[in-house]
Symmetry: C2
Amino acid sequence: MTEFLKFTPLVQSLPATVPFVGPETQERAAGRPFRARIGANESGFGPAPSVKTAIGSGADEVWKYCDPENYELREALGTHLGISSDRIVVGEGIDGLLGLVVRQIVTEGTPVVTSLGAYPTFNYHVAGFGGRLVTVPYHNDKEDLDALLMTVIRENAPLVYLANPDNPMGTWHDNKDVAAFARTLPEGTMLVLDEAYGETAPASALPAIEALIDRPNILRMRTFSKGYGLAGLRCGYAFGSPGTITSFNKVRNHFGVNKMAQIAALAALKDQDYLTGVCSRIIASRKRIDAIARANRLATLPSATNFVAIDCGRDGEFATALLQELVKRGVFVRMPAVAPLNRCIRISVGPDDEMDIFEEELPQALAAVC
Amino acid sequence: MTEFLKFTPLVQSLPATVPFVGPETQERAAGRPFRARIGANESGFGPAPSVKTAIGSGADEVWKYCDPENYELREALGTHLGISSDRIVVGEGIDGLLGLVVRQIVTEGTPVVTSLGAYPTFNYHVAGFGGRLVTVPYHNDKEDLDALLMTVIRENAPLVYLANPDNPMGTWHDNKDVAAFARTLPEGTMLVLDEAYGETAPASALPAIEALIDRPNILRMRTFSKGYGLAGLRCGYAFGSPGTITSFNKVRNHFGVNKMAQIAALAALKDQDYLTGVCSRIIASRKRIDAIARANRLATLPSATNFVAIDCGRDGEFATALLQELVKRGVFVRMPAVAPLNRCIRISVGPDDEMDIFEEELPQALAAVC
């Protein structure tokens, strides 16, 4: 025997995969580090100095298991959001929470609705539990709320995914439209409203907490990975009605949120001044990416996130070639995977020195492919 | 509508639970911190100073996503174990890996064999995927290899769990017996050999790596939580045949192992001198717990772990009362949940000051219940 034969038929049918190839893998292949790391929508501005201090002190605490109830962090989040902590679950990033919500709703053949080209890790989890993914094309580079709703109804789907602001395009819907979409969904359809980029969005993009909090079929998800600059520590949270939140306690890995994430997230939440400052830098960096693109006669899409999609003006093949030229020059960037979104490349904001490198290399990369 | 109605029937049938109530929860209820934290089999000796230094420097790295392939850590583990890195998967603690292996094998009604009173989190995962748990009593406070094998065959079970050394009793089997058990299992039965306490066990307890490495139906799991003192960072690993290991890439949360865990585990692995020193302190602390118990006319079980089971000499009710008296006196300890194991309380090793407190409080706790 060379293979174990009793894996479930579903697992046997799945491909072994790495949904995102890390920049580390590319660096190993190239034999040298990237000069600019502006591809994974991380925050090159980093977490607050106060958070780094807390992490340093945390070294004395990591021998202890983390609190499996994430009590202090949930209390602090409750205060921050103005809701009680029994409406909040903390997980190993939004990725971990997505896996848990899919597991709770999806079995083999369950229809699940998302946008064509939207967050791949959600799709990975749906496939992993045997769900049938039904995709809706973007409309004008935005997720198409009307078509998502119609598709949910047509498929009688118990689960739909919407990112607002959107990744990979950076676009967003007005909070009134999002709230109307959410409240119009059938009661038997769970909406995962991924607000990973909530902190970097204009206030008008986010429905008020109280607008959706009492719906058992709405889960809003946020993270410490983006605005707060803690992508590596894996800490996200979801909030909604107490019954829906409690259900996570049936299936989650109770010690999954590590102690350093708990310590750092708590410190990050306390330092809202730093977050405000970082958001200003993110907005400034978005403007700089736009200026660099326009100086090279390329258009950008409006962005409410910590990245900007540059429209390369031609097809996916051209954008891929341009991306490869940038990578070859030591600039780590990524791009959407599906047409017509893949006419764009996606540039994460970052400190000026990384933007300088991008500004220097983009014209050369363009010259190489034109 | 007050509840979401489309959770799967399995999820609707599960209880919301916290498998281990954290000491933090008890501290909140009591309104004061524990004086001695010797209940969760953590390492009060902490990680190496070199690891703490690495964690401090790591504060500058946590804005980056972790490497989803855990490349450097798997390479280092491969060198450490003398196997290639395609035989190793890293996960969010053994807990996380247990969930993933259960998910790959168990569907509703699948029989799964374990020992009655063994690790509850494994059972939690089995229940979470709808498996049918079949339990085998301990024999002389050890997991009963012959009975486990017979039960596997009788039930035609595709999954069996064995911890060696054992938690919660601390006992162990000789490596020859473990290897013989493992190699006699049917090819269609996956053995999870949980070696969380491998570093603190005598060499004679652990089968040689090469003795079992080529069996596709054997997964050995180890962790940085115990000997290495990094319970809070959530980093465990499994090793086995390449096909069985690759299968994890179909279902795992690829960014689940956080960057600080990667940094700290790598540093911990490099500092084997510290591990050697800690293991000496663990052995000394086991002896001290034994001496304290005997001074109070209580027997202890032999231990290959970082804890010692004290036989309180009567039934579970008595041991529970004693444990509650210790807790009331600020000493955090735990105990097995099932008879006859629950005649014992389980004391984790720790620094001398914590042992002093235990030594001081045990006679008083005994006096209160006798």
